[in-house]
């Protein structure tokens, strides 16, 4: 990420830009390119801590076969290539945050706020949020919502919250193993629960965990989480389903690590016309029911829509033309090719 800015300031910050792109997946990234050719500045906001969206989070190593001119490319390679392609335009990235609200101001521009307490003032909003925002997967336990962020956590923000507690960690991946190792020295008791005695985690971590179990510092329990007991948001027992039947473990903190899943999230509250969790757009500009807010990629809906990355790229190009007329009203837009236009080549830093 040479020529790109990763913003880590957050709280209280105010950003002014031409376009805010919600989502830094492949389509959001390519939108930077198409907008950049038209001299439009972009800031991107993504809930993940890295660019690439589903390509980077769900299938970084999986081959994709239907990107034009790439017989095969992995999700991560596609992301890396897009990042290289948009580097000349120095987009500003705001990772690990979610856009909570969009407000249309009197002059037709927009004010966005994030869960990191940032404010964006922008002329155009482009929603390229794919299947929604990645959120921790909630285990199928009745009533778990009442305990969330009080005694049930999907991430460790402050290790101190777990000191001298009876902690149950559920899962068999790196997050479960890493936090088992990190929290073991400070907790009162720690039980790692996994459905099988096999882990998809760094072998060194698994070995260390087994040593802690052998030393009696960590309990390992085969099973699946079934039920929680507690009151006022504080758990006191975790019930497990095991081969030997139900098992109840005294616990004051629970950390389930089942990975991430996509949820539409706040997009549903932005007053846009929706169709089954997707945003309705026209097929000339890919504009939503609110002028100035566009939606491209998997998150939009129109007759004949195909959820393909290549469709999102096309949508980005047409959206950019329409966005230009909002960002620079009255300015004549001359359509140019990167192969022949010295002007475009200068923007790309090759002429």
């Amino acid at each position: 990420m040479n020529d790109t800015t990763v913003n880590t300031n957050g709280a209280g910050e105010v950003v002014e830009t031409d376009v805010v792109i919600v989502g830094a997946g492949p389509v959001g990234l390519f939108a930077v390119f198409e907008l950049g050719l038209l001299d439009i500045r972009c800031a991107l906001v993504d809930i993940l801590d890295k660019p690439g969206g589903q390509c980077a989070e769900l299938y970084p190593e999986k081959p994709i076969y239907d990107i034009p001119a790439f017989p095969v490319v992995t999700g991560q390679q596609l992301t890396d290539n897009l990042m290289a392609q948009i580097a000349p335009f120095s987009p500003e990235f705001h990772f690990s945050r979610m856009v909570n609200s969009i407000e249309k101001l009197e002059d037709g521009s927009f004010k966005l706020t994030t869960d990191a307490d940032e404010t964006f003032f922008t002329k155009v909003v482009v929603i390229a949020a794919g299947g929604g925002s990645f959120q921790p997967k909630r285990p199928p336990v009745p009533g778990i919502e009442a305990f969330e962020n009080k005694s049930v956590f999907y991430a460790v923000r402050r290790m101190e919250d777990f000191r001298d507690q009876d902690v149950v960690i559920v899962g068999g991946g790196d997050s479960a193993l890493d936090w088992t190792l990190n929290l073991a020295p400070i907790v009162r008791t720690l039980t790692l629960v996994h459905r099988r005695d096999a882990f998809k985690a760094a072998p060194a971590s698994v070995n260390k965990m087994r040593e802690l179990v052998a030393d009696g510092k960590v309990n390992f329990q085969l099973g699946q989480i079934a039920k929680l007991d507690g009151e006022n948001g504080m758990i006191n027992h975790v019930h497990l389903t095991t081969e030997a039947g139900d098992l109840s473990i005294p616990a004051t903190r629970l950390l389930p690590f089942f990975g991430l899943t996509m949820k539409l999230g706040p997009v549903a509250d932005w007053g846009l016309e929706l169709n089954d969790n997707t945003i309705v757009v026209d097929t000339e500009k890919f504009e939503t029911s609110v002028p100035g807010i566009f939606a491209i990629g998997d998150i939009n809906h129109y007759p004949g829509k195909l959820k393909l990355i290549l469709s999102g790229f096309h949508e980005a190009a047409l959206m950019a033309q329409a966005a230009k007329s909002i960002v620079s009203p009255g300015e004549r837009v001359v359509f140019q090719y990167t192969t022949s236009s010295t002007k475009l080549q200068k923007k790309l830093g090759v002429a």
Binding site: Y59, G131, G173, F258
Partner: protein
């Protein structure tokens, strides 16, 4: 070929499956309650189903990678499979399965 799918509400659906299609794709195309968010890339477990005991042998055991993905849901049983990893074929004509709670859309 036909597959019989019981959804999370207990309703049974007889679906026409096409040879070579993934069972997940058939269920999704018929509009049943399946999230299938990675689209069949074996990168999530949101097409999780339980295969009827009579069909377990015909369907076969999950691969190691599939077992790894099943770690990301909390309602795994001994007959759990990811429906994107089951291909429709004449040998599976009449296949019976039940959608897991963890396969449901939000």
């Amino acid at each position: 070929m036909k597959i019989n799918v019981t959804d999370q509400a207990g309703d049974v659906h007889e679906l026409e499956g096409l040879e070579g299609w993934r069972v997940m794709e058939v269920i999704r195309d018929w509009g049943l309650n399946i999230k299938a968010e990675c689209g069949g890339a074996l990168s999530c477990a949101t097409c999780h189903c339980y295969v009827d005991s009579d069909w377990l042998d015909a369907v076969g055991a999950p691969s190691e990678e599939e077992e790894d993905m099943l770690d990301s849901v909390g309602d795994v049983k001994s007959n759990s499979r990811l429906s994107c990893q089951i291909l429709c074929s004449d040998e599976l004509d009449g296949l019976k399965l039940t959608l897991a709670p963890s396969a449901a859309k939000d």
